[in-house]
Subunit: 199 residues, 2 copies
DNA sequence: GCGTTTACGTTGCAACTGCAATGCAAACGG
DNA sequence: CCGTTTGCATTGCAGTTGCAACGTAAACGC
């Protein structure tokens, strides 16, 4: 076994370059040579780690989802032992919003991938599962803490949609972060009843 | 003045072909030749009516927005003289959701354009205005009809976000139309208080 | 030493891209 | 009849694309 190299590290390096390109110029600018240049490597090397462009794309999409998941789990862990459902929900959803430049960059790529997968149903299956899992989690939190008598499932769908929609409008620059957060809190107020002043 | 041809009609014909291509294979598959083939014309003719590809894109984007606007005004007009705010709101938002195949096709293209404009801020200005106008309209309806004591502006932002998010998830096939409509109604319940059974 | 396997770099190619250029036919004003 | 303007088709070109095909260098087992 010759020349051992950390395979995953290289792939991550390339995927990182891909996302830089995608965030700045859109997914359609993501070509083998372009990504290779951004990563500072030869285009042959990119081909070595991803036999096809589509394979590279799929990997990058997985990276984004992992990053989001890591962000959320980290933010939740920072909440302490047994946070209130509403606080947990707010933290989680706010973390998924593109509120700073880092998350904006990720969000731009994610949005591009969203449009990408809509036309390629095969790739979209993974997103399906993620949504379903998130949905169940949110529904549980709502039913365990909401004051009003709403169907938790439906409310969860709505809440997730609010988050997604706010993300879209944030990326489009339609309004500033504070407005999005205010809208999110208003939404939570509707579900849980008005709350003591949130941070 | 020789050979008079309806300029707008031709452009509409081409834009229509563009959207068929975009809906089926994504925006990145939209090339001069491809669109020309889909429209059944020569690529030279496409060039005659749109001097650059970007000009063609911008026009297609405008067409989509006009179609949406027409859909909404038509649906609202069908409501009669003085509809209740809630009913008006529901009709409007439901009309903007990709609930049938026609609107799904439009939605796919719109989503692709969304990702497209995020990287090209110059094109996004028009969307800005549209959102702002919609927002003001919705806020007015809420403040004139909502039962709870919420800030109409914030609630409008949330409601619009719900609609956008539901649209995204519908396009992704994450859940069926009924689920989206149910979530929308739940959202309206939260704002206006539970209502008599909706159609 | 040698053979094999991995890790690249380089080159080449057919396909495609946007776009300019050119040509021609038709319709109108004069 | 003729020039001009418009509508459209064809062709060509430089650039880019994904990908295959090579090459070579390094690390290891034997």
């Amino acid at each position: 076994m010759p020349k051992r190299v950390d395979h995953r590290e290289r792939r991550a390096l390339i995927a990182d370059a891909l996302m830089r390109v995608a965030a700045e110029q859109g997914l359609e600018a993501v070509s083998l040579r372009h990504v290779a240049a951004a990563a500072g490597v030869s285009s042959g090397m990119v081909q070595h780690y991803f036999r096809t462009r589509d394979e590279m794309m799929t990997f990058a999409l997985a990276v984004i989802r992992e990053r989001n998941e890591a962000r959320v789990t980290r933010a939740i862990a920072a909440l302490g032992e047994t946070p209130a459902p509403r606080e947990l929900l707010r933290t989680m959803l706010a973390e998924l919003l593109p509120l700073d430049e880092e998350r904006r960059a990720d969000g731009r790529v994610a949005l591009a991938f969203l449009a990408y997968t809509v036309v390629r149903p095969a790739v979209a299956a993974a997103l399906h599962d993620e949504t379903a899992a998130l949905l169940g989690f949110i529904a549980g939190l709502i039913s365990s803490g909401a004051g009003t008598t709403v169907d938790p499932e439906r409310a969860a769908v709505g809440l997730l949609a609010v988050m997604e929609g706010l993300g879209i409008y944030l990326l489009g620059g339609h309004y500033p972060p504070e407005t999005a957060l205010a809208a999110l809190d208003t939404q939570l107020d509707l579900l849980f009843g008005p709350a003591e002043p949130t941070s």
